[in-house]
């Protein structure tokens, strides 16, 4: 479908020299396998990936090297087969030149794939499962921001997506990576769009391409004939490729300040990201390579290459015939938004262009002059901000005012600095202001966290002190109780001693009372008789033949019986 739709215009914008033709004459080339690849664990916005391999491990092409940590993270895969030679800080393509944790992979030259799991009939699969597949393939936005794609696809579940926008505008001078991608992989891109259609079920799909890429437009139109997607040629103007700007050009709708396209039911994906989604879903391939533009007058043969993620920049430049003597500045990205990098850093998922510029191409900026309040910057700003006002507040470090003037809606496109007659490096002011505000916010969150921890600690200490105090009191009470008990016992003992004495007296008295003198005498008599009987029995036992004793025994027995009877009679009389 290629029916004309109404186009809108964005505010401002500029028309810098395009410089795109240099790198499009050689088609899409393959670079020789680099000897060593450096794979940073942070190639996206969000958390670092966590390595799942160890130094010395042998890995296959496409094997998982580091897994995602949380929702805002992306896994990293091996771009070729080889041996892990290091895990640790390594060069990173960042303007600061600081190192970042990375996995270093020594190529074994075999380029052997791990078994892949292609999915031909994705239409019978639930969208959520496809999203998991996209997340597992390590896809983050390849347009430059590096937002994890699966996360972006479900960013606002409460807002259904009615318009899917595919960004092929590629508005920045020099860069032709998306152009080449569309020229060579149009069919795969359209298949990737169909995957997105299955996931999002949008009512319309618009592919926005700037009209300075006629080959790409015709290739995409040819490929999209059977597809609901509509290829729209938009007028060439920088920065029409910004997400918010492209949406405005294609639909006339503006994204609210601080909001996402999903807030108004739209979603924007870059051409190269769609291609990666196709490869991940239909071929089962993780994101391990991307198209990079190698351009600039310091290169003998500027071109576009399909480069493995992690390829050192210097190897790519050598492939394109770098003339070190001519090189003045090496820029990652385009001349408007790119930044200077070191050649020993690797390319990552977001690197779309390497600009090896000569002194004539990117001359050092002339010294900045005072602002003359001409207002050209405000006319050029595609976000309809007031760069001049922002500049004053940035100079005065008035961060609250900068935020009130919507500094964070600035897309850092550089249009204001481009038109500034005083050559004021406005974007640098805004970037510095933004990073300062972010640092202050981080500091504030940290302070808040520390305050909470301090207060919790104070509470804990107080609780512990109270507990100790309670324990102490308890112990004191216990001691007091024990003391009281001891004292009570002692008093009781003292009280009990006379009582015992009287008991003894009573018993003695009782005994005395029970036996009268006659009874005593009778008892003594009975006992004497018993003793005499026992004595006689003993003697008889010793001398069984003694007849005298034999005769005495019955008499003694009778005497004992009489004595006992008399005593019993006496006691029973007493008792009754």
């Amino acid at each position: 479908m290629s029916a004309q739709i109404r186009l809108w215009d964005i505010h401002g914008g500029i028309h810098p020299a395009e410089n795109k033709s240099q790198s499009t004459t050689r088609g899409l080339e393959q670079v020789p396998l680099p000897r060593q690849l450096v794979l940073p664990l942070l190639q996206h916005i969000g958390n670092h990936a966590e390595p799942v391999v160890q130094v010395g491990d042998r890995v296959l092409k496409g094997q998982l090297l580091a897994s995602a940590q949380g929702q805002f993270s992306c896994p990293v895969h091996a771009p070729t087969s080889g041996v892990i030679s290091a895990i640790g800080p390594a060069p990173y393509p960042h303007v600061s030149g600081l190192a970042e944790p990375a996995i270093t992979l020594d190529n074994d030259g075999e380029d052997r794939w791990t078994p892949l799991d292609p999915m031909a009939d994705y239409q019978s699969v639930e969208p959520l499962e496809l999203l998991e597949r996209i997340a597992a393939a390590g896809i983050s936005g390849l347009g430059g921001a590096g937002f994890p794609t699966a996360r972006k696809l479900l960013s606002r579940p409460e807002h259904p997506i009615h318009t899917l926008i595919i960004n092929g505008a590629e508005c920045e001078p020099y860069i032709t990576a998306d152009d080449m991608c569309m020229r060579h992989h149009a069919a795969r891109i359209i298949a990737g769009i169909e995957v997105l259609m299955h996931i999002l079920k949008p009512a319309r799909i618009l592919i926005g391409i700037e009209d300075n890429k006629p080959e790409a437009i015709s290739a995409m139109r040819d490929a999209a004939q059977q597809c609901a997607a509509q290829v729209v040629a938009i007028p060439t103007k920088y920065p029409s490729g910004g997400e918010k700007q492209l949406i405005q050009i294609l639909t006339g709708e503006e994204i609210p300040s601080g909001g996402l396209p999903a807030d108004i039911g739209m979603l924007c994906q870059n051409i190269a990201t769609v291609l990666a989604i196709h490869d991940a879903v239909l071929l089962g391939k993780p994101l391990i390579s991307r198209i990079v533009t190698l351009t600039g007058a310091a290169l003998d043969r500027p071109t576009n290459v399909e480069a493995l993620i992690g390829t050192p920049i210097r190897e790519l430049l050598a492939f394109a015939g770098l003339q070190p003597a001519r090189l003045h500045r090496l820029v990652l990205g385009g001349p408007m938004m790119g930044y200077t990098v070191a050649a020993y850093a690797p390319i990552i998922k977001t690197s779309n262009c390497l600009l090896a510029a000569t002194l004539d191409e990117l001359p050092p900026p002339p010294p900045a002059l005072p602002c003359i309040r001409c207002g050209l910057c405000a006319e050029a700003c595609p976000a309809q901000l007031l760069p001049q006002q922002l500049h004053w507040f940035a100079l005065g470090k008035d961060y609250p005012q900068l935020q009130r003037q919507n500094l964070f809606d600035c897309i850092e496109c550089g249009a204001c600095a481009y038109v500034c007659p005083s050559s004021i490096p406005l974007v640098q002011y805004f970037r510095a202001g933004k990073s300062e505000i972010r640092a202050l916010e981080r500091q504030h969150t940290r302070a808040e966290q520390s305050r909470q921890r301090f207060e919790q600690r104070q509470e804990r200490l107080q609780r512990e002190a109270e507990q100790r105090e309670r324990d102490r009191q308890e112990r004191a009470e216990k001691a007091a109780r024990a003391k009281a008990a001891r004292e009570a016992k002692a008093a009781e003992d003292r009280a009990a001693a006379p009582a015992e004495a009287s008991d003894l007296a009573r018993v003695q008295a009782g005994k005395a009372n029970t036996l009268s003198p006659e009874q005593k005498q009778l008892k003594i008599a009975a006992a004497t008789a018993r003793m005499a009987l026992k004595k006689a029995q003993k003697q008889l036992a010793a001398n069984p033949d003694n007849t005298d004793l034999q005769a005495q025994i019955p008499a003694l027995e009778q005497a004992l019986a009489e004595a006992e009877q008399a005593f019993e009679q006496a006691t029973s009389q007493e008792g009754s």
Binding site: L98, L369, Q428, A439, F454
Partner: protein, 192 residues
């Protein structure tokens, strides 16, 4: 006489009405705590370092609310003094050097091989950012450390270093350009 009486009665009635309204408002819109102390506390850096002479930021906030000078907080530095001056509408004083100098933020690192596990630093840490147990190695939770220095002093084997926070691509900051000089003279321009 009647006029005077009317006036007095009117004023009395008005006084009663307003008294009732104020009394009601005092109960209905009662503010828990001292809002100004909380506002001051929110501006302090919460390092809990005690360099101001108070046992933590909240007590200093309380003291400021009671009229103490606002320039006793070295970790907050000029920015905090300025913010406090704006909040309290007082003059921003230069930092009182008696309480220390403004330093870049640091975090504590324990040289773990040397740690004897005495727990003294754990007890000193105002934000519970040190992990360990008796006769076990201790370590600092870097994300929680406020860089207050309070653990350095109690360490019997001097195995705690205060190191500046490492700069990573995530917390690296763009530096602002040098502002254009404000002179009458036209600077020499290069190729425009």
């Amino acid at each position: 006489m009647t006029i005077i009486l009317t006036a007095v009665i009117t004023l009395l009635v008005l006084a009663l009405i307003f008294g009732a309204v104020l009394g009601y408002a005092a109960v209905r819109f009662r503010v828990e705590g001292d809002p100004i102390v909380d506002q001051i506390n929110a501006l302090l850096p919460q390092t809990q370092c005690g360099q101001c002479g108070h046992p933590g930021c909240k007590p200093y906030a309380q003291a400021i609310a009671n009229g103490e000078p606002i320039n006793k907080c070295p970790p907050g530095g000029e920015a905090t003094i300025q913010a406090l001056a704006d909040l309290l509408d007082v003059e921003a004083l230069p930092l009182d050097g008696e309480h220390g100098e403004e330093k870049p933020p640091t975090v504590a690192y324990i040289r773990e091989a040397e740690c004897i596990g005495c727990t003294k630093c754990i007890q000193a840490c105002p934000v519970d950012a040190i992990l360990g147990a008796a006769k076990q190695m201790h370590t600092v939770i870097v994300d929680e450390c406020t860089g207050c220095d309070l653990c350095v002093e109690p360490c019997p084997v001097d195995c705690i270093d205060m190191l500046p926070l490492p700069v990573t691509p995530q917390n690296w900051r763009w530096s602002p350009p040098q502002p254009a000089p404000l002179t009458d003279k036209m600077p020499q321009r290069g190729v425009a």
